[in-house]
Amino acid sequence: MPRACPERSRRVPDSRGWFGAYGGRYVAETLMPALYELEQSYKQARRDPAFSAQLARYAADYVGRPTPLYFARNLTQRLGGAKIYLKREDLCHTGAHKVNNTLGQALLAVRMKKSRLTAETGAGQHGVAAATMAALFGLKCEIFMGRLDVERQALNVLRMKLLGARVNPVESGSKTLKDALNEALRDWIATVRDTYYLIGTVAGPHPYPLIVRDFQSVIGREARRQVLRRERRLPDFLVACVNGGSNAIGLFYPFLKDAAVKMVGVEAAGKGLDGPAHAATLVAGSVGVLHGNRTYLLQDEFGQIRETHSIAAGLDYPGVGPEHSYLKDIGRVQYTAVTDEQALKAVALLAETEGIISALESAHAVAYAAALAPSLGSERVIIVNLSGRGDKDMQTIAAHAGLTLDGAEPAAERATAG
């Protein structure tokens, strides 16, 4: 695996929003001024100690940061190889890493005096995190969510509504995340003066990939400090699932200049990479432009975006953040993919060994780590980003594991022997 050149990886994105050949600002003219406004506001906020202090305070008191870096002893022993640590983003308020980003951006929206948030969501985790911030900061909130996702992530839909957000089921296209993103952009075009568009991952036009990366980097900064304290050394591998790639970049970014730390981004191989039912953009895609940036995409020969599949609603996006495209090209991060089946098995494995029910998304990273660990010596260290908890996925997981509400046998029979 080629080593990154630290200088280089620190210079992206450039002032025009490019990560090497990826990124940029491919949006309707109506939105361009808003992107410049956002860029300016973010630059100022970033330099403002009051902003950082506010962010840190909410992260600690509200989100529950720092999240633990948990040594998964049982999993490690079961696999018999490298030590596996889990970065516990599943313990964040609202149940996933998404809130790191929505908190930061919502504070930015308040600073920019916007009165309304608009956001897309796939699994609903970003939608919940955005609706949460809207409630916390007294903003109106409009969520766009593909009709299919509305149905498969019902719990999160109800949570968003209870938080006061309006959830708009999107009926166009494939009725999933990419269409929700289209619809959120349409909403933003129409409301750009008073609305803050709160994107849920490191995609979208510049400066979003930069902003989201920065807000998510708290994951990696904490993990770096924690692993150094625990192991007195850097980890050998970082593993994270990748859809847009925000949890992955959040973990990876603060380690990018540590050349000895290998990194693996795990995409959704769905029903297998040989067929069309997957969402492995970096592994199986090609370069194009979608939703404001140039990056790897899953597209047909005519540049039409393909429908994707993953059992994890939150991995079901045909694009990926431009920084990941860049990191792939320079070889700093290795990208691979894990099937629905493997992810489901990883959920069961982690539940069984560690008592942690992970989100299906995060289970992709767990599955990869479980395959990697046995091939490494026991002195090696792997950090897996456990990006979210699995409550939202229980119906899906239960259906696949054959679990039902019925008991194996009624309690009354068991209490009496014979």
């Binding site: 309707a28 349409r186 075009i189 432009v289 939703h291 039409q304």
Partner: protein
């Protein structure tokens, strides 16, 4: 001098406003699109924007989204659309602009796309999600192939930015009447006229106005202060209603005819004056 320039030069001489219908290539079939362009030309259209279908048209409202989906289902890929243009060119010299999103173009290859488009008889390109900042790679081959890269200006565009954009603009300027996606609207914004007036002070290029114009009265109102009215969703809805039928041709043609007539009449009064606002 390409067809766009020629068209606007002639119209300017005649003090006549341009009607610019937008229809999606392949909606509902490529053959019907061919007939529709000829019909529109016959009923007074001065330039036709041909929509290139894209799976993720994030700047379009529901009517055009559905039209683009129909085009997609009809298989209106870039190569087929260029073939359509080539066929049209044997029967019409109306100015043609391809209107769409960047990814299908990029996938085809910018240089190859421009070369093939120029050869087929396309006159201009309007890529909604390609702001001037990112347009370099398409601008160069477009110029080389004699294609005008049409730029959009929006109500949110600040004056300084507008000044920069008009400097690199070619063909005509497309002023987006509202901050919003394409679609039929009841009323045009009241600041539209002063904003166009302000824009006019920055450039000699013709100024077209689009997004939301759907009735002859609205087209006429726009014609009173702008050089062209772009009408999209209204045609998409007619095509949706009538499908690939002769009635569709008639309905689309009739609306175009009424619009053009109303616009001519409005222009009799000449453009009015108004105060320029801060933003465009």
């Amino acid at each position: 001098m390409n067809r766009i320039e020629k068209t606007f030069a002639q119209l300017r001489r005649r003090r006549e406003p341009a009607l610019v219908p937008f229809i999606v290539a392949g909606d509902p079939t490529l053959e019907q699109t061919e007939s529709l362009v000829l019909e529109l030309e016959a009923r007074g259209a001065d330039l036709v924007e041909l929509g290139v279908p894209f799976s993720d048209p994030a700047a379009d409202g529901p009517a055009n989204q559905r039209a683009l989906e129909r085009g997609l289902r009809a298989g209106a890929s870039v190569d087929k659309i260029l073939a359509l243009v080539a066929r049209l060119r044997s029967r019409s010299q109306i100015a043609l602009v391809l209107f769409g999103y960047f990814n299908p173009v990029l996938r085809y290859g910018c240089a190859r796309f421009c070369a093939d488009a120029g050869r087929a008889g396309v006159d201009g390109l309007l890529i909604v999600d390609l702001p001037p900042e990112e347009a370099g790679e398409l601008r160069r081959p477009a110029r080389a192939c004699g294609l005008d890269l049409i730029h959009l200006l929006a109500p949110t565009t600040p004056a300084a930015r507008a000044a920069r954009i008009v400097r690199m603009a070619r063909g005509f300027l497309y002023y987006v009447s509202v901050a919003g996606v394409t679609g039929v609207r009841d009323k045009l914004p009241s600041e539209l006229e002063p904003r166009v007036a302000a824009l006019r002070r920055l450039t000699d290029l013709p100024i077209g106005v689009g997004f939301g114009i759907s009735t002859p009265a609205q087209a006429a109102a726009v014609a009173s202060f702008a050089d062209a009215a772009v009408v999209g969703s209204a045609f998409s809805l007619l095509i949706e209603r009538h499908g690939a039928s002769a009635e569709a041709l008639e309905a689309v043609g009739a609306l175009a005819g009424q619009m053009k007539a109303a616009m001519r009449q409005a222009r009799a009064g000449g453009p009015r004056q108004a105060q320029p606002p801060d933003d465009l």
